[in-house]
Symmetry: D2
Subunit: 286 residues, 4 copies
């Protein structure tokens, strides 16, 4: 167990996961605003690196503001949806983009020159105009109808299929999880034999997206100056490690203090450090 | 390509798959009643070996009768649901059996001493009384609600989880498929890390179930006397081969005349014979 | 924890796994002969159900005799290799059977009318005569040569590929495991896209093989009269449960007393009972 | 089918896969030197992006020089081994790096402050000093010994495991393939339950590595200016597409002219363009 504040002092850039690090199903982690106050005071740079493609960075930031955390602005948030957006911009220049998700999540697929189609509205008249399928969120559609349409679209059309949040499940309460859009995508892949293009941790491309922002402004920065903070071994820690960053596992989310050692050993995914939480203040009290 | 009728002459017992061999999404295969007339005339024994656990053998037989095929009686039908029933009878002696499927499919889990619970009715009061989970049919429940409940039940309780139809998808029309309950089970397994017990082809236990019926009445029969007829390589043909039976692939279902050779080569699953269909009459015309 | 001897009293037929139940890498489990003495005295029927296809039942029995356990005769041993033998007998009537394994393991593939070929001797002259591939044992061949030949044989020929021992690894010492032939088969399957036919626990067919022996002599026996004893959740316990048998997990093999509860919960595979060991005497001392 | 030379005219930067595009098991693709002459003449920038970690960029370039292709210098070659090297540099600061591969492949893991150990020399005295495992090449070790050691090392030590070439197999002749180190890694992962960190196409990090080189010298370049040329859908084309590049499939390697359409449809991975080969001259003759 490492003291979180003394750890932060060694890095110039801090990457935070959102869920399990800054907030949980119950709201903000108590005291987390102190961490961001301190980072601002120290003039350290930080980013939120999140697999949440259910809404735009603007709407994600709104949530923090409403909860009283004013330091997180849209420009600080890098979501996997932004990579889906970049992919469509570079690789899918025309046609109709079909999606599964809410209207808010469709933010990421709106581009000049492209039309979007909630997959539930796919029919024999428009199926041949569809040029990509994007899975954004587990809400906003009837699963039986939407998943069957996804399977049949991919059987009939050779088009890119993108998943903007690779997580299989997410915590809904102290005990229960919800199946996430990444879990639904596994089934569609297995049935169709086709692979989704996955954007989001642990894949390196989301870290690279943040990295390109950083080196534009701070060309002197190296990967040794960056610390990734997360609560999940298979996404935050594996992804951060693979990208070459030092990583901290915090115990306020997916992993409980009594479980984390077993899980590190059984998965083979080891963080550089382990801290109780990402709250600066709490460490003073210990 | 082998003549179907001359092939039948070499066997005493015939196993038929149902979907793609006797019927399709459009109804009965035209002329299939001639095959069963001829089998009766020749005093050959036959069984329908089906992964359809959506209704009881009685209701499955009703369908054939309504369509004019009177030779298929409930006693001739061996469905994967019957194996789920036997398992529950032997291994789950008390408690509440939760299920996903229609009310008709629940036929297979009704036992003296056991209560059944549509999984959508699971709640904090009854979750600890549940002693098994059975997935029977893709209809009869809301997928988002039902699948999330299946995941959380298996996370919280160490109980047997049974899948009574391992098929991943089934043909819905000339072009489209529907996701079957076996496809939904893959996702629940991957998210929870727990394995369903699968009953149904290609697993041997369904063939053994039929086999035990046969050798009681005809102890002289050997596996060389039995022919398995199916339209699907991964279930009917693989399962029949593995059980030691001769197998025929018919081209009236899953595999089209232009595709079957490629699919046999790429899967490595080869039937003993290939016939155009399971209709006796049609062969005369050729 | 259940007393092993009082448990045995409730069953007429006992199935034992071999490795981890009767013997380990160090030799026989101390005192195990008392169990077999008692079973003989009580006139209970027993079988050894093993995934070991590395030698014939005669040679497997020889080992027990040399170690002083005289009660286990070849007729009491049912090995997964015997199912491979039955499959070849029924389904592969001619040609050249290629195999990976030792000369002793080749016992299972010797049939009148068939020739056998150690896979390392495959070449351009004989590859087209090969009618089946059987993986028997991880010893007896150079892995680089043999595995590459297995991959290329299955790419070029559409023939049945059989694995006579589905285990992925086996204990070599207190700490270390050895990769078993089933683990090598996973790789060949993934590279070629073709599936091996797997004989051996947890697949039902090996239990059925024993069952058919039993009901011939004792037609009054039901599955309720049979107890399966094993040390491995994914083979012995899962397979026994699925076949409808009561099962006992013993803690003298794969699972240690401090681990078994976590492993049962994480896998979802629960034995009917748990006993310290399969030694009758040891229970008296407790 | 697109004319290769007219396609090249639209891009400023060209990425080439090596095997199947520039060379095959028979040597250089005839005429390929004309392509590089033309690129030099046009002052276009090019890189070789290869999953070959069996030797250093210097030795890889030597091969081309010996074959008469003088334009490919070590600085033009970006191999997956270089990413493994960067990872070790950033994340494994001390200890003993165990590896599977030839002495030449060990080039990638030699770092000041680190010692290297051929995995075959692992024993009870040094196992606890090992701080990472790197799989580099399928040659240079006995598979039975090396793979068993890899499995037991990962069971006993929680250390990063890296695979520097994720390919499962590679062409050895017109008909046959060889199992590659990536194929061996699948088996070790499945047996141990631990995941290797994979560097190399289709993973984005190798493209990013090239990209960072480019934007340092040419900050005006965008991804629209780059073309990726490859012969394999699952590595070159999938990886290039995902990184946001335009892609060309050439038919001189893995995919034959009669197969590529079926493979694109069944995998769902579509290149932006298809060309006969990467030879500029050959197009003139058509």
């Amino acid at each position: 167990m490492t003291n979180f504040k003394s750890l932060l002092e060694n890095y110039k850039i801090i990457f935070f996961d959102a869920y399990g690090v800054i907030k949980t199903y119950k709201g903000l982690i108590p005291g987390i605003e102190k961490t961001f106050d301190w980072l601002n005071e120290q003039k350290k740079t930080y980013y939120i690196i999140t697999n949440d493609a259910s809404r735009s960075p603007e709407l994600l930031a709104d949530y923090y503001h409403k909860e009283g955390l004013h330091q997180i602005t849209p420009g600080k948030i890098i979501s996997s949806g932004m990579l889906a957006k970049e992919f469509l911009d570079l690789k899918v220049k025309k046609g109709l983009i079909a999606y599964l998700g809410t209207e808010e999540s469709a933010h990421y697929i709106e581009h000049p020159g492209l039309n979007t189609l909630p997959l539930q509205q796919m029919n024999e008249d428009n199926i041949n105009d569809i040029t990509a399928l994007v899975l954004l969120d587990d809400e906003g559609f009837d699963w039986m109808d939407g998943l069957n349409k996804a399977v049949n679209l991919l059987r009939r059309r050779t088009i890119p299929a993108i998943i903007a949040n690779p997580d299989g499940a997410y915590p809904m309460s102290k005990r229960d999880v919800g199946i996430a859009i990444g879990g639904l995508a596994w089934m569609v892949e297995k049935i169709t034999g086709k692979k989704f293009i996955r954007f989001g941790k642990p894949d390196s491309q989301i870290f690279m997206f943040a990295w390109e922002h950083i080196i534009k402004d701070h060309p002197e920065i190296t990967k040794r100056d960056v610390l990734m903070i997360g609560d999940t071994l298979h996404t935050d820690i594996l992804g951060g490690n693979k990208f070459g960053l030092d990583t901290v596992l915090v115990l306020t989310g997916n992993l409980l203090p009594q479980d984390y050692q077993t899980r590190i050993i059984s998965s083979g995914i080891a963080p550089t450090y382990i801290c109780e939480s990402a709250v600066v203040e709490r460490d003073f009290l210990n």
